[in-house]
């Protein structure tokens, strides 16, 4: 009974001030009667069930973008927009075809616009055809994420997590995006509205998510590609709030030999 009292405490408290949508969010509240019944299920984070998929979902979106960028090889010049994308798409697919692996260092910068603050982290990045990706953050924390075909593995400190993308509809869909990206068909997949720009040394691919799931997280994704070797220099993911996350790739090695062990999920 005590638990119930505790739960109701939340419900009776005064409304929260909301940043964006006012108290419309009340509709998302759980009714007190409903909560009273779940004596052993705590109110707030008991829905861990949905939490993990969310986390993984976002990661896989992220992976999808990385894979996309890996294969986002363009042609052309000057941050003027390319009018004919046919050739670009073709080139994109061709280079994707030839790229079997990528090894690189990366720097990630999360910009929080209203806080005038940047969070920088660094690590190593490995990609191999098909559907294999390893991202290892080393500074200022250690964090490892491996995507190997249908499986995702995460090591965060001492905690390990494994998830099969087969067991989940969302993962399956996301996996399709990943494959589309790798095969160079993402530009045609209908998940993004795309525009390509160029300047002297780089291409800039601008992607706006079409589907609602993705647009919740990003307004646009901007990728710069080095014209010299068609490798990705940066990926910038812009949120509606004005915050953004930028990944910068350095010391890139294309088609380096990457051992299986790096993608092994035990």
């Amino acid at each position: 009974m005590r638990k119930v009292i505790f739960v109701e405490e939340y419900i009776k408290s005064s409304p929260l001030e909301r940043g964006r949508k006012g108290n419309v969010h009340w509709q998302g509240c759980v009714s007190s009667s409903g909560l009273s019944k779940q004596k052993h299920t705590p109110p707030p984070l008991s829905r861990g069930e949905s939490r993990k998929p969310v986390l993984f979902k976002m990661m896989i979106f992220f992976v999808a973008f990385l894979c996309f960028t890996i294969t986002a090889h363009a042609q052309h010049a000057g941050y003027t927009q390319l009018t004919d994308l046919t050739k670009f798409k073709q080139q994109f697919a061709e280079v994707a075809e030839k790229t079997n692996s990528i090894k690189s260092d990366f720097t990630q910068e999360k910009s929080l616009s209203m806080l005038s603050e940047k969070i920088t982290s660094k690590g190593k990045f490995w990609y191999r055809k098909t559907n294999m990706l390893r991202m290892e953050y080393t500074q200022p924390f250690s964090y490892l994420m491996i995507l190997n075909k249908d499986n995702v593995y995460i090591k965060d400190g001492q905690k390990e997590n494994k998830v099969s993308t087969r067991s989940n509809k969302v993962f399956k869909q996301i996996n399709k995006i990943v494959v589309d990206c790798i095969q160079g068909t993402a530009l045609n997949s209908g998940d993004f509205k795309s525009a390509v720009y160029e300047n002297k040394g780089t291409y800039l691919v601008s992607l706006s998510p079409v589907n609602k799931q993705l647009s919740e997280f990003f307004k646009t994704i901007e990728i710069t590609v080095d014209k010299k070797d068609y490798s990705v220099n940066t990926i910038e993911m812009l949120e509606g709030s004005g915050d953004s996350t930028t990944l910068r790739f350095t010391n890139k090695e294309i088609n380096a030999n990457i051992p299986d062990a790096l993608f092994a999920i035990k």
Binding site: R2, K3, F6, V7, E9, Y10, I11, S13, S14, L16, E17, R18, G19, R20, H25, W26, G28, C29, V30, L35, T41, P42, P43, P44, L45, S46, R47, G48, E49, S50, R51, K52, V54, L55, M58, M59, Q108, K110, L112, M114, L115, E117, I119, T120, M135, Y137, P140, F141, Y143, M145, D156, G157, K159, N161, E216, F217, M237, S241, D243, T245
Partner: protein
């Protein structure tokens, strides 16, 4: 049968009694507890959250005090995906700038708000607060809308042992801070007593 009834009544009575009822009144400066308030000028924590059912969530929590003295708290995962962005205003107000849909539930938000208010030592009204003691500790008590926030120190008041958010009878949340350097604690732990919901913060040097 009578014995059963009697014993049940006794049991109920026992379970209804407050863990705080044996505390004795104490003298002291209630405001001095503020000296333990963590300095959240600009600090980044590696954050782990464990929830019921063995679920685990990790990420980075940035806490920054803005020029208008409001404290912003942004939690994102390691790859930069934002989970929430809260503001604790200097006048006691609270604002949600952003929260992902899956967490956008009032009980979740209120729990996080109250947990962090406990640690930040907000909502301390000296006119309604009072002090208590037992054989080992001093208790700085600040009544809230429901229940109270307890700050428990050693008898001399020189060391903060733990913080508690309590119902009228017992603690529902306990929090500890460790390794305090220049007012910034290296670790903060928040743990719920009624269900599994634990937050662990570990400071990252930038």
């Amino acid at each position: 049968m009578r014995f059963l009834l009697l014993s049940s009544c006794l049991l109920i009575l026992a379970s209804c009694s407050s863990v705080y009822k044996n505390l004795k009144p104490a003298e002291g400066d209630l405001r001095s507890i503020k000296k333990f308030a963590p300095d959240f000028t600009n600090v980044l924590y590696k954050t782990e959250v464990d929830v019921i059912g063995g679920h685990h969530l990790s990420g980075l929590l940035l806490i920054k005090t803005l020029p208008d003295k409001s404290v912003r708290m942004v939690f994102s995962n390691e790859m930069g995906f934002k989970f929430f962005d809260f503001e604790f205003k200097p006048d006691g107000g609270f604002k949600v700038y952003y929260i992902i849909k899956q967490m956008d539930k009032r009980p979740v938000i209120v729990t996080l708000q109250k947990d962090f208010e406990l640690v930040m030592m907000r909502k301390q009204n000296p006119s309604t607060g009072y002090m208590r003691k037992d054989d080992n500790y001093l208790y700085y008590v600040f009544p809230q809308e429901k229940g109270a926030n307890y700050y428990i120190t050693n008898k001399a008041g020189t060391e903060l042992i733990r913080m508690e958010r309590s119902s009228d009878r017992k603690p529902v949340v306990q929090a500890i801070m460790g390794g305090i350097h220049d007012g910034i604690s290296d670790t903060i732990g928040i743990s719920h007593k009624n269900f599994k919901f634990n937050i662990g913060l570990k400071r990252l040097k930038r």
